[in-house]
Assembly symmetry: C2
C-alpha cells in the first residue's frame, strides 16, 4: 500500500468499539482512512452513534468482495464470526486489523500461517491492553535476547472491581455490579473475572515476547470470582493488595513459564498502583532492568485509538514479522516450577488431596481455613477441579521473583 493511497476500510461490528472507531476516524484527518462500509447483524438496531445509512449492510460478502476495500477492521463480539471473517479476508489477501483476543489467542498459529501463505497482514495491537502499545514494542523494540519477563494487569474490568474493594472498601458484589453499570464488565462477566481475557492477552504477548505459542488449555488460569472478605482482610493485614496478574517469566535461559492468577502485591511493586480500569505492564530485561507501561486498557475510545494506530501502520505496509519465532533456539514452556501459594478452603481435606511440596503455614478456625504452601505449577493444573470447588480461593505469593516487578 503506497503512502499516497487512501485506506478504504470495511468495518465488521458496530458495538461500543466499532462506534468508537467511527468517531475516531472522523477526527483523524491525517490518517487518509475512510470507512466505506459497515457490516452489522441487525441494520435496524438503535445505536448511540448513527452512521450514514448507506454505509450499513448485513451482507458480509459486500465487504469481502468489494475490490475498493483494502483493509478490513473486525471488532465483532463473537469469536466464531471473527474467525470466519478474518480467515476469509486473509485468504483473499486483504489485510485485517482485529481486536478479538479470544479468537486470535486460540488460532494464532493458523493466522500466522495464513498471513505468510497469502502475503498479507493481520494487526491486533488493540487486542492486548487497549491503548498501551505492548505488542508492537515487544515485536519491534524488545526484539532481542535480553527479555526476561512480561508481567502485568491486563484486564481492566477485574482490576476495577479489585480496586473498588481494596481502595474504596466496597463489597465484592457491589463492585461487580458497579463495574457492569459502568460498562467495564460484560453482562456475563466470567470472561473478565475468571481470568480468560487476561489469559488470551498473555498468549498473544508471549508469541511476541519469546516467539513461542502456548495453547490456552495448557496454561493455569484462575480468576477472582471466589475472592472473599476473609482473603481481602488477610491481604490488608499484610499491607498487600490482591491483583489479578498475568505473567510470562524465563525461569532459566532455555525455559519459561506462564500463568494467570490472583497475586499478593506489595506497595513497592509498580503494579500495586495500577488502579481502577487501568492496565499496567512491566517488561523486565537483562540490561534495562524494568520498563513500566501504563494506560487505559479498555473502553470504546482507547481501544479505537489503538485500532487507528494499526490502521495507520498499514499505510506504511507494516506487518508483524514474528521474528522471534525464527530464532534458532527458542525457550521451551515448562510448568515444572514451584510456586508459593495462599490456599483458602472450606473442605478441610482439600490440602491433603493436593501434592504440596511443603506446607509453611496452616490456619484453621471455625469459619475460615488457609494454608501457605509450595506446589508445582503442573500440580495446580492437575488440581483445577478441586480448586474450583465452593469455598476455595488460591493466590500466588511471589517468592522467586522478589523485587523484580
Amino acid at each position: 500500500m503506497s503512502i499516497e493511497q487512501t485506506i478504504n476500510i470495511g468495518l465488521f461490528g458496530f458495538g461500543t468499539v466499532g462506534q468508537g472507531i467511527y468517531q475516531v476516524m472522523k477526527r483523524a484527518t491525517n490518517a487518509h482512512a475512510v470507512i466505506r462500509r459497515i457490516c452489522v447483524r441487525d441494520i435496524n438496531k438503535p445505536r448511540k452513534v448513527t452512521p450514514e445509512p448507506e454505509l450499513l449492510t448485513d451482507d458480509e460478502s459486500l465487504i469481502l468482495n468489494d475490490p475498493d476495500i483494502n483493509l478490513i477492521v473486525e471488532v465483532v463480539d463473537s469469536p466464531e464470526a471473527s474467525y470466519r471473517i478474518v480467515t476469509s479476508a486473509l485468504r483473499k489477501g486483504i489485510p485485517v486489523v482485529s481486536g478479538n483476543k479470544a479468537m486470535i489467542a486460540r488460532h494464532l498459529p493458523e493466522l500466522i500461517d495464513l498471513q505468510r501463505r497469502y502475503d498479507t497482514a493481520l494487526l491486533y495491537d488493540a487486542s492486548s491492553c487497549g491503548s498501551i502499545p505492548v505488542i508492537r514494542n515487544l515485536e519491534e523494540y524488545y526484539d532481542n535476547d535480553l527479555l526476561l519477563e512480561v508481567k502485568g494487569i491486563l484486564n481492566g474490568s477485574s482490576n476495577y472491581i479489585l480496586s473498588r474493594v481494596f481502595d474504596h472498601n466496597e463489597e465484592y458484589a457491589d463492585a461487580l455490579r458497579r463495574a457492569q453499570e459502568l460498562g467495564f464488565a460484560e453482562s456475563d462477566p466470567s470472561f473478565d473475572i475468571e481470568g480468560f481475557d487476561s489469559l488470551f492477552k498473555l498468549i498473544i504477548i508471549t508469541v511476541h515476547a519469546l516467539g513461542v505459542y502456548v495453547a490456552p488449555d495448557r496454561i493455569f488460569t484462575y480468576g477472582i470470582s471466589s475472592l472473599s472478605s476473609f482473603d481481602i482482610q488477610y491481604a490488608r493485614e499484610k499491607r498487600m493488595k490482591i491483583k489479578l496478574v498475568a505473567q510470562v517469566v524465563k525461569v532459566e535461559p532455555s525455559k519459561f513459564t506462564m500463568f494467570v492468577m490472583p497475586e499478593f502485591v506489595s506497595p513497592s511493586k509498580y503494579i500495586y498502583s495500577v488502579d481502577d480500569e487501568y492496565n499496567g505492564v512491566v517488561i523486565r530485561g537483562e540490561c534495562y532492568d524494568r520498563q513500566f507501561m501504563f494506560g487505559k486498557g479498555a473502553g470504546s475510545l482507547p481501544t479505537a485509538s489503538s485500532i487507528l494506530s494499526d490502521v495507520m501502520a498499514r499505510r506504511h505496509g507494516y506487518r508483524y514479522e514474528y521474528k522471534k519465532m525464527n530464532y534458532l533456539e527458542l525457550p521451551g514452556y515448562t510448568t515444572d516450577v514451584e510456586l508459593r501459594v495462599y490456599l483458602r478452603f472450606t473442605d478441610r481435606m482439600l490440602p491433603d488431596s493436593m501434592p504440596f511440596v511443603r506446607i509453611n503455614e496452616t490456619y484453621i478456625s471455625e469459619h475460615n481455613n488457609y494454608i501457605i504452601g509450595d506446589i508445582l505449577l503442573s500440580d495446580l493444573i492437575a488440581c483445577r477441579d478441586l480448586l474450583s470447588s465452593p469455598g476455595t480461593f488460591i493466590a500466588n505469593i511471589p517468592r522467586f521473583f522478589l523485587d523484580k516487578d
Copy 2:
C-alpha cells in the same frame, strides 16, 4: 539489508556507553551483529572493559572506508566529533545509530535531509530516555492527530538529585556530589542540571510527536542549580515535589508550546513517583487519555540495550520516516502562552523588572522573597538574564494543564 545478512558494526567511542554496547552485543546471540572495529581517541587508555586489541583503532577512516562495515554506532562524547562522524557516514550512505542528543537536537533538519538525499538511515532512540522507547512509539504508534501532550522527566541525573533532596532529606550540594560519585552526573554537571540535556531530548521528541523542529535557543530552559532550601521547604509545605520537567503541549489545535523548567508536582501526578535516576514520560491524547512510560533513563547497560534495539531494527531496514513532517497542516510553535510561576528572588526590584500580567501572591521577609504570578512564556524568554541573577529561582505551577498529567 536482508534479514540473513550479519550486521558488521563500526563503533565510535568506547566510554561508559560504548563498553556497555560491547558487553550487550556479546549476550545478544540472536542479533547477528558483530563489532568489527572500535575507533577511540587514545588506544592505550586503561579501560574497565578490554576489547580484543585488534579491534581498536584511532583512525576514523579505517571504519568509514571499510566496505564490510554496514552500520556505524556512534557514542562519542564530543558533539563536534559526533557531527563529523555521523554526517560523513550518512554522505557515504552508511546507516548510523547515534546516542548524541546534543548533536542531534542541534542538527536534526540537516540530518533528516542527509538521510533522504543519501537514502540511508539515522536511528537514535537511545538519545532520549535511554531504555524507554519513546521516539519509536511517537513515530510509529502515536502516528495520528490525537496527540495532545508529551511531558516528562527526561534527565536521570537532575532527577536523582531532586529525589535525594525531597525523598531523603539530603542537602542539594551533598546530593549533587553523591550523583557525581555514582556516575549519574558528569564532572561538569551543568548539561544535566541546567536543563539542556532535557531540552535536547524534548526537541527530538517534538519532531517525532508533532512533526515540527524548533531550534534550542527558541525554547525557554531553566534548570535546578539555584534551587534553595527555602524553595524545598515551600514545596514540602504544599505537599508537592519540585521536578525538572520537559513538556510539549498543544495549546489549541493549530498551536503548541514547549519548555523545560522546574515544576511543582502534586502526588496525584504520574511523574510525582518517578524517583532516583529513573525517567518517566506521559503521552496524552484525545481518545486514549494518558499513557505513562517509565524506566531507566541513563546508565551504561540501559543505554546500550536501547542501542541494541536500534541495531536490530536495522536488520529489518527500519528507518524513521518523519511522517508527521509531511502532514498538510502542522501545528505552529508559540510562546504566547501565559504561565503561572513561583519566582523566588533576592533583589526586591526584580518582579518590577518583569512584565507580569498579574501577581497573585507576594511574600517578603528578611531573608527570602517570592511571588506567585502570571507571565507570558515569551516574556520569560526575554527575561532569561534577570532570571539567572544570583538568588533567583523560578518554577512552573501547572494551572492550565491541571489533572492532565
